[in-house]
Symmetry: C2
């Protein structure tokens, strides 16, 4: 099933179930008011939510036409946002771009950072940019939403803790990163609020595309209306979501509703394009020139989605415009 | 007023108002069920909560005897946990301890890291330790809980965004830090769940001790029953809570209930002791020897509190024991 959050004027919005084609929805607040509430009581409410989804799919419920501009992020605020960097090609390119070496443990231990989770941008919410010289970049990523997850999960036990899949645009202020990393405490001001795609879906919606904790579909990225990326999110995800989950639970437990990201989807083959501008800039340098493609400016647009084998947009589209902040 | 959260079997517990002496409490769930709920609707409910607090203080309400072992962390899960490192003496000592230089911007730009917020330990909850060689350390800190806070707050406007003050024990696995910092993404597995003191208090409870975003009172730390620290949290806090708040809002907004920590309270004068073991170990090395004091083991206890001029425990005590994890 597909779940989303309608803006009803409250902080956490109203839970809705969305038909597979994304065209219509059914209210679900009589079952549980919010998506966080559903995740808190999943065993109790998932069956009823699935029944509503099935009724919508079967046409027993007509559904209400969906306007994605009325949606909030599925989780407008979450208790934790943990972002991996599981595509090795991205790590190597971005570190080259800032003149840094990849870490020694690149292939043996996942990179993860703790992100801000108190405010996620809606799928069509403008991106405020206060200073162009901050170097605003998009990052197209997959993400999973976790169940209550204990300390010490083995990769093979990870699937039972993954409730939902979705997409995020992990916005980054590239030019704030070097100074911040020199301080040694990780990213902070270099990571403004992250945007989420309209729908979160249960793993069964991914059908045969979900293999070993990896989603074998293309990440479709359009920047200013032009397709710039269609990297396959599957084969080059060096650490699967199962590996990432095992890593983050080494010393901590996580509450239901924790969001875990894949890191920027990236393929070695340059013909697959890019899911963030930093990679293109590095390739321009490797190609013998200078980084000529600028980061985002006021007026830029970014569109991110993923389609299944039938051409259906699985998570709906992130579709944002940069505005003066 | 003093607020706390009683364990009622739910994820977020039940909001209570606590008498200034910490001996008795009154239920507040008829006003608003949880502390997060109160922070979400502060303007609407603060007056009623204050009235209940006043009735308790005046003896108009008898109150129920308080057993701190029945308390959860005031916010058992929060939308964001941002921890500063505002005591320069701590930064210098801890970096020396791991052979690293303090950052160039030590005195001009606050250090902050994004911590995990989906699970805070209760004030008397045992600390699980899975591997002694991880080097478990306590860190006694002050913290504030924020109102909805926009991007771009100036330090002089910061007080209006600070709702509550409290104490945290920001537990750290010291021996996991060097490897994690080499990866460049900040702390993650080196920071297990943080514990909170029983009570959060409104700024007026601090009376004359609160000056310019600093709390001029001693952080009382007992390790294994012996007093090891009584550093004054005021004068040597290089960046005040106002400075920290201005820094974190440079590129992001924060939801009500975000917790912002001071970093380990630390004084240059060694006779004031220490608020984390790492500092003592560094002093042992500087004294010409080896670091002989071990990090925490199963069975160790840690007790952290802060008293006002009348000798009253302002936030109640963090009182934890290390157990096999």
């Amino acid at each position: 099933m597909k779940l989303a959050t309608l803006d009803n004027g409250t902080r956490d919005g109203a839970l809705i179930v969305v038909r597979r084609d994304g065209e219509v929805f059914a209210d679900a607040t009589d079952i549980v008011p919010t998506l966080q509430g559903a995740l808190d009581r999943w065993e109790e409410v998932a069956g009823q939510l699935r029944a509503r989804s099935a009724a919508l799919e079967a046409g027993e419920l007509p559904g209400v036409p969906l306007d994605v501009r009325r949606l909030l992020a599925p989780l407008p605020r979450a208790y934790e946002w943990v972002d991996g960097s599981a595509y090795v090609n991205h790590v190597v390119l971005v570190r080259k771009a800032r003149g840094a070496e990849p870490p020694e443990t690149l292939l043996t231990e996942p990179l993860v950072y703790q992100g801000g989770s108190s405010r996620f941008l809606a799928p069509t919410e403008p991106i405020p940019l206060t200073h162009r010289e901050h170097g605003l970049d998009f990052e197209a990523e997959l993400a999973v939403v976790l169940a209550d997850t204990p300390i010490g999960v083995d990769p093979e036990d990870a699937p039972q803790y993954i409730r939902l899949f979705g997409l995020v645009n992990d916005l980054t202020l590239r030019n704030l990163i070097p100074g911040e990393l020199r301080k040694g405490f990780g990213f902070f001001t270099s990571k403004p609020a992250t945007a989420m795609a309209p729908f979160l879906v249960t793993p069964d919606e991914l059908e045969g595309s979900l293999l070993d904790g990896r989603v074998h579909l293309d990440m479709l990225v359009h920047h200013n209306g032009r397709r710039v990326g269609h990297a396959n999110a599957g084969p080059e995800m060096h650490f699967s979501f199962h590996d990432l989950l095992a890593h983050i639970t080494k010393t901590r437990a996580f509450t239901a509703g924790t969001i875990l990201g894949s890191g920027t989807v990236s393929n070695e083959d340059p013909s697959k394009g890019y899911s963030c501008i930093a990679e293109l800039r590095m390739r321009e340098i490797i190609g013998g020139g200078e980084a000529v493609t600028p980061y985002m400016s006021v007026g830029d647009t970014i569109h991110i989605e993923m389609k299944n084998g039938d051409g259906e947009s699985l998570f709906g589209a992130i579709n944002q415009k940069v505005v003066q902040g």
